[in-house]
């Protein structure tokens, strides 16, 4: 990489270096996957996958999921603005075997978690809240 960019991720509005990416993956693993979340993605608002971690049982098409998740989030966000809300805080799609939870980390990032039915929504939200606290300063 060019001298100005030695250990940085560039081009995006945000910049993450190697250490920060390590930190993010660590948080995703320790707080989320070890708590029973099957697969978790940190994506940016354009649909890029910034970091991911899973328990090895998920075989989903993560790039398509990221593209759809960012678009879905943007659409819901725009709907919130239309009805005069700042944002709709909870986005949860419940399936029979797997469910998807979305949460905004900060202006740049979204956290997408795929969970089985073992995990209660309450515990899930608690764990995600803890993880978000640990990474929301990054941008």
């Amino acid at each position: 990489m060019g001298s100005n960019y030695d250990d940085h991720v560039v081009f995006t509005d945000y910049t993450l270096n190697q250490e920060e990416l390590d930190h993010i993956e660590n948080v995703l693993r320790e707080y989320l996957v070890k708590s029973g979340i099957r697969s978790v993605l940190l994506i940016d608002m354009a649909g890029n996958i910034v970091a991911k971690c899973d328990d090895g049982t998920c075989e989903h098409d993560l790039y398509s999921l990221a593209a759809l998740a960012s678009a879905n989030f943007a659409a819901v966000d725009t709907m919130a603005k239309i009805v005069g809300e700042n944002e709709f805080s909870l986005l949860f799609h419940k399936g029979e075997k797997e469910s998807i939870h979305f949460s905004r980390v900060n202006n740049e990032f979204l956290l997408i978690s795929i969970v089985g039915k073992e995990l209660s929504l309450g515990l899930l939200r608690l764990k995600i809240g803890e993880a978000v606290e640990k990474i929301k300063h990054l941008r």
Partner: protein, 201 residues
């Protein structure tokens, strides 16, 4: 807004196909998907109406292999061309790195092409991007219709209408037969990668 991950040595870049409704954006991606089936591991995602019009976007991730040691993934998107879908069209443009403008060569579509290009310029501006700076290729689509006696705009007219100020590469094409579809894609990927190169070396 390409994302370069130094850790996994991966680049993700976003290329969006834009243009008037029914111009052939989705057909471009469908052709690419068919043609490179063996290299594209995931399915093409299309959010569309029953009448096959794009409602939100089409999405096709395309692995172009290694460039300067990086695994490069180009994410191809189309926007919905219908005028009424401007809000969703704008959402798809978020973080775009390169663009193909698919114009409809039919004579009766002349005005729609011009309006759509203007709309692109305005929507890019909402992200503080200039249509004069972003990597851009024009495609004059549906040239095959000439053989059926359907009146088409001449290439000179289309160049004058759409490209007199932009002066970007253009391709007469047919998304239906596949003519110049891959050439268009290769050109925009190469322009997009060139704009990223200063950072990848």
């Amino acid at each position: 807004m390409a994302f370069v991950n130094m850790r996994t040595k991966e680049v993700q870049a976003k290329v969006v196909y834009y243009g008037p409704g029914r111009g052939g954006k989705t057909t471009n991606l469908e052709y690419i998907y068919k043609k490179f089936r063996d290299r594209i591991k995931s399915d093409m995602v299309s959010i569309k109406t029953h009448g096959d019009r794009t409602l939100f976007f089409d999405f096709l991730p395309f692995d172009i292999g290694k460039i300067m040691g990086y695994d490069v993934k180009i994410q191809l998107y189309t926007v919905p061309g219908q005028v009424k879908y401007d809000a969703t069209r704008r959402l798809v443009l978020k973080g775009v790195d390169g663009m193909v403008f698919v114009a409809d060569s039919q004579e009766e579509q002349r005005k729609k092409n011009i309006l759509s290009l203007k709309n692109l310029q305005e929507n890019l501006a909402t992200y503080k991007k200039s249509i004069f700076k972003i990597p851009l290729v024009l495609q004059y689509n549906k040239r095959d219709l000439e053989a059926q006696g359907i009146p088409l705009l001449s290439l000179e007219t289309m160049e004058k209408d759409l490209n007199s100020q932009l002066k970007v590469p253009f391709f007469p094409a047919s998304a239906a037969t596949g003519d110049n579809v891959v050439a268009t894609m290769k050109k925009i990927i190469s322009l997009t990668m060139t704009s990223l190169q200063s950072v990848l070396k």
